[in-house]
Amino acid sequence: MKKRVTLTFPTNIVQMPITYRLAKDFNVAANIIRAQVAPNQVGKLVVELLGDIDEVDAAIEWMRLQEIHVSLASGEINIDEDICVDCGLCTGVCPTQALTLDPETFRLQFRRSRCIVCEQCIPTCPVGAISTNL
């Protein structure tokens, strides 16, 4: 199964090789979507955990014991369809082509699976239709 989580590390845990431990101890592949990590600062990691359901749960349990805050409500881009005017300006700054215009209808399409939550689309949107819950 696949689970997207946001990990917040206290400053003392930033040194720990988390993704290595997830792979080695739990056989969980951690695909890093976003990361903000620096020495002696609270770190933040948005990862997609891929593995057996029991092992993913065990991995989350273990991380929580390490005082890593695990949030299942991971950062996601939301597009308010009532506000969006389908201009497509956001498609030009989206680095992963998660945001595209349908070549026939020219309506905005959002493929969440491709989104890395870089948030460049948020200030670009002229009508403020895009937001994140992170």
Binding site: V85, D86, G88, T91, G92, P103, T105, Q120
Partner: protein
């Protein structure tokens, strides 16, 4: 040959044949110009794009005692008041004036954000929302009042109409950034080293590209504006019909423009949207539809134009001068494919006009005509076709940059 009177007669009997310009293009491809000409009476074009040279005229109605307004703010956004006592002009790109002492004394509505401009206030008024008014007057014997504050809605004011000095640009440019830092422009963010490109005209469906020499559109032409009925009032500012043109008569860059006027009280906020271009400023996204009466076969011929036959220049915004370097011309077919090639590099392209809503404007106008709700007009005067594009240089300048 058809006449406007004949077409209006058919519209009133609900027998007029109206097609969107895309339907026309498809029919011409299928069966040719002559056959399409026999079938169709009106061709409906539309666009939905930011048109920043727009604004609203408002007459508030007189207060007791009366006031001659000299300075005025609507939701903290300054409106021009340098004419009749309670006449105001609220420009789409007007922004809250942060340097004024008004901010410090707390008179501005809380939550006025930099992203909010005159266009957003116009949208709110059209949507029927209340707007805060604050005015300072010049005390005279006729108008003794010094200041006035109130909450207004579109129902509590006399006139409320859009008067847009420049709309419907006939073609525009494509923006890129050849420099090494991000730029925030009226076309949206342009990323460095040619990482993206933005175009803002919807191409072959755009109204003025289907009547390239303005033979049909003139002063008095009735149009769809923001969901209400409006008219072409004049040539637009920066109207430049003498732009270089292709043999099909479409210009290779920004050319003709028109000034539009329409009652905002009839409008629908779905078609009038305040917008904000990051680190540039507010603007107004507007849906405008123009009907083209099929008087002669030539009309069909012009409207049959395809995206691959229309071009726009790619301009480098990293040089902030009046004349910017260009990377040459690209077709709207290339632009709409989502990628263009500049200096051998594939660059992703995004539109700023909503092609989806542009089509919807044309469709809405078509439905109005089919239902007999919208008749067409004969222009009362033509738009000049000989205007040059004068630049503002300091007198005495010895050399030109062009």
């Amino acid at each position: 040959m058809r006449t406007i009177a004949e077409i209006n007669e058919k519209i009133s009997r609900r027998q007029a044949v109206a097609w969107t310009v895309e339907e026309l293009k498809a029919r011409v491809k299928e069966s040719g110009v002559a056959k399409a000409f026999k079938q169709v009476d009106v061709i409906c074009t539309g666009t939905f794009e930011p048109m920043e040279s727009s604004g609203a005229i408002i007459n508030l109605g007189h207060t007791d005692p009366p006031i001659k307004i000299r300075q005025c703010w609507l939701d903290g956004i300054p409106a021009y008041a340098g004419f009749g006592a309670v006449d105001l002009y609220l420009g789409a790109t007007a922004m809250a004036d942060y340097s004024s002492s008004d901010v410090l004394d707390g008179n501005l509505r809380q939550g006025t954000e930099r992203e909010r401009g005159g266009a957003h206030v116009i949208e709110d008024l059209i949507a029927g929302k209340p707007v805060q008014l604050r005015a300072i007057g010049q005390m005279t014997d006729c108008y003794p009042r010094a200041s006035f504050e109130n909450t207004i809605t579109k129902e509590s004011i006399n006139q409320f109409y859009l008067f847009n000095p420049r709309n419907l640009y006939q073609n525009f440019i494509v923006g890129v950034n050849g420099g090494d830092r991000p730029l925030f422009t009226y076309l949206g963010p342009l990323q460095p080293r040619l990482a993206n490109a933005v175009y803002s005209n919807p191409g072959a469906i755009s109204p003025l590209l289907n009547d390239p020499d303005l033979q049909l559109i003139g002063i008095g032409t009735k149009v769809f504006l923001g969901g209400g009925i409006g008219y072409v009032a004049w040539e637009g500012t920066q109207h430049f019909p003498l732009q270089k043109r292709l043999p099909n008569r479409t210009p290779i860059g920004p050319a003709a423009t028109v000034a539009l006027i329409a009652d905002a009280k009839q409008m629908n906020p779905y078609w009038v949207r305040g917008c904000y271009l990051h680190n540039y400023g507010p603007s107004l996204m507007l849906g405008v539809g123009v009907p083209l009466p099929v008087l002669q076969e030539e009309v069909v011929h012009h409207c049959a134009i395809q995206d691959k036959e229309i071009v726009a220049p790619v301009m480098d915004f990293s040089i902030p001068r009046r004349v910017r370097p260009t990377f040459g011309l690209v077709t709207y077919e290339q632009l709409k494919s989502g990628r263009i090639t500049i200096e051998g590099k594939s660059v992703r392209v995004a539109p700023l006009a909503s092609i989806y809503l542009s089509r919807k404007v044309a469709e809405e106008l078509k439905q109005w005509i089919i239902a007999g709700k919208f008749t067409i007009t004969e222009p009362v005067a033509t738009i000049p076709q000989d205007r040059s594009f004068i630049a503002q240089d300091r007198r005495g300048s010895q050399f030109t940059l062009e």
